[in-house]
Amino acid sequence: MKAVITVTGKDNVGIIAKVSSLCSKYEANILDISQTVLQDYFAMMMLVDVSELNVNFGDFSDAMSKLGSDNNLIINTMHEDIFNSMHRI
């Protein structure tokens, strides 16, 4: 199972490091990363394999959201199927 983590908010130092280390803590394997910075606005997308997670998906998603709110960012963790369903026929 793959999930997409999106991080949006004001750019600050170490965002990718923080998200990646949380992925590593829960054993989510990072498959791909892309990011854009528009002026001060930061948007990162990360495709992760969550089939080997050491917690359930809901807890992983909550931990990511909390990391976001602690750093003034919005972090969403969503199963990739929602994007595939919406944007592909």
């Binding site: 892309s34 948007a43 997308m45 495709l47 998906f57 199963h79 929602i82 994007f83 369903s85």
Partner: protein, 452 residues
């Protein structure tokens, strides 16, 4: 990897434009609970519902987490109680209503629908007893929703039932007078009621349905409004295309959730209801979509045309996104639940007559409309008759959910909070339809019914 633009678009739809799944509704047949004793019937329906739906709320919450899309309500619809109840009487039905309410509270669902009777051609003593008991049942329960189907295109209009429903609605208003006549918000009078509607207050599990089924209702007026706002100079063909594409995306989420819920619960998937269901939240309004199309205020001339375009494009876009479509499918226009509609009524731009015209081209009907508390029962029956006729002649579902708010007059407001919102009490026509409503009998089925 997935396209960045697509991912951000989905997230914006959810975070900014209020995209959500309005409801996962589990339909449960209660036909096997029939029993000559009211007590036993109540016990049986309670046990069956709590067993079938024990994991419904938990499953909904898990799906919500997995896909990051809010699922606002988890609900249950059951076989019309007047059918499952067989030959029960008034007091037995009240026991059944309480059992439904207890089952809703025990399973954690938001609402349970199906305290219903289908009397389009005539009524049995059991159905008469159930209809009589509706006001008390709604007053003594929290989550129970009720509906009565008084007409179909095939059968015509049961005007005796229409006349009776005027009195039932008045009584429901009186018994819940201390809560702005909230009982009436949980009671719908239908023409051509669908068997697989996941939306309240009109949901019930139709007699042609199987043992248990999962139906999903989507939402997303905010998403459509925002998509239109990005193309301010689009012509009508382009406008229809934008709405179709947006409806497609919204419905695909509904289909995904429905399939997932069905597989997690091990219950067959029924339908996705392609609906635009507003909420009182700013930006989540059907009226605001019509205004975004270029009307100064919802209710202006052009409103019916704009709504017709919207409703048709939503269906065209949605139908390709789901393998099975059903329910009410279309744009809803409940006044109290739509911030833009409330605004239009308060400004005097949107009247009851205009709302009635709008119902000819969209889903459902006169919905969540507050009228003065001293409105006569015959007048309410006549409102029902008008609205139901639109449904019968046009071979579509229409419904009436009016609230003759006890003790309130034009200019007052009723307020329920949450998804129910608040409604300004609207002005009504003062002339009497009493002689017409009092004639009794049935309006014959229209010529459209003879399609064979």
């Amino acid at each position: 990897m997935l396209n960045t633009k697509d991912i951000l678009e989905t997230i914006e739809m959810i975070r900014t434009d209020h995209l959500d799944i309005r409801t996962i509704t589990m339909g449960i047949s209660l036909l096997d609970c029939a029993c000559e004793s009211g007590n036993t019937f109540a016990t049986r329906i309670y046990e069956k519902i709590t067993k079938k739906a024990e994991n419904l709320v938990k499953t909904g919450e898990e799906i919500e987490k997995k896909y990051g899309v809010p699922i606002i309500n988890k609900r249950i619809s059951v076989t019309p109680i007047s059918l499952a109840g067989g030959n029960l009487g008034y007091d037995d039905y009240i026991l059944a209503a309480k059992a439904l309410d207890k089952a809703a509270s025990n399973t954690g669902v938001n609402f349970i629908g199906g305290y219903s009777a289908l009397v389009q051609k005539g009524s049995t003593p059991a159905e008469d007893a159930l209809i009589e008991s509706i006001p008390e049942a709604l007053a003594c329960t929290n989550a129970v929703c009720s509906s009565v189907n008084v007409a179909t295109t095939k059968s015509g209009i049961n005007m005796d039932a229409v006349a009776k429903m005027g009195h039932i609605i008045k009584k429901a208003a009186l018994l819940t007078a201390n809560n702005d006549s909230f009982g009436c918000a949980k009671l719908v009078v239908f023409a051509n009621a669908p068997d697989d509607n996941p939306f309240m207050a009109g949901a019930f599990h139709g007699v042609g349905e199987g043992e248990c089924i999962i139906n999903v209702g989507v939402s997303g007026p905010g998403v459509v409004r925002s998509a239109i706002a990005k193309e301010p100079d689009a012509n009508f063909a382009q406008l229809a295309e934008i709405i179709k594409k947006t409806a497609f995306k919204i419905t695909r989420v509904g289909q995904l959730v429905a399939r997932e819920a069905s597989s997690m619960l091990g219950i067959p998937f029924g339908i996705v209801d392609l609906s635009l269901a507003p909420t009182p939240a700013i930006g989540d309004s059907v009226a605001r979509i019509l205004e975004e199309m270029g009307l100064e205020c919802c209710g202006a001339y052009g409103t019916t045309a704009a709504l017709a375009l919207l409703n048709d494009a939503v269906k065209k876009g949605g139908v390709m996104a789901s393998s099975q479509v059903g329910g009410l499918s279309g744009a809803f226009i409940p006044v109290s639940e739509d911030e833009g509609m409330i605004n239009a009524v308060n400004k005097g731009a949107l009247t009851l007559e205009k709302l009635e015209a709008m119902t000819a081209v969209c889903s459902v009907g006169l919905d969540m409309i507050a009228v003065p508390g001293d409105t006569e029962a015959d007048v309410i029956s006549a409102m029902i008759a008008d609205e139901i006729s639109i449904g019968v002649v046009n071979y579509k579902t229409t419904a009436v959910r009016v609230i003759p708010a006890f003790g309130k007059k034009v200019g007052d407001t009723i307020s329920y909070g949450g998804l129910w919102g608040e409604a300004p009490v609207m002005e009504i026509n003062k002339y009497s339809p009493s002689k017409f409503i009092g004639r009794g009998g049935r309006i014959p089925a229209p010529i459209q019914s003879l399609k064979n």
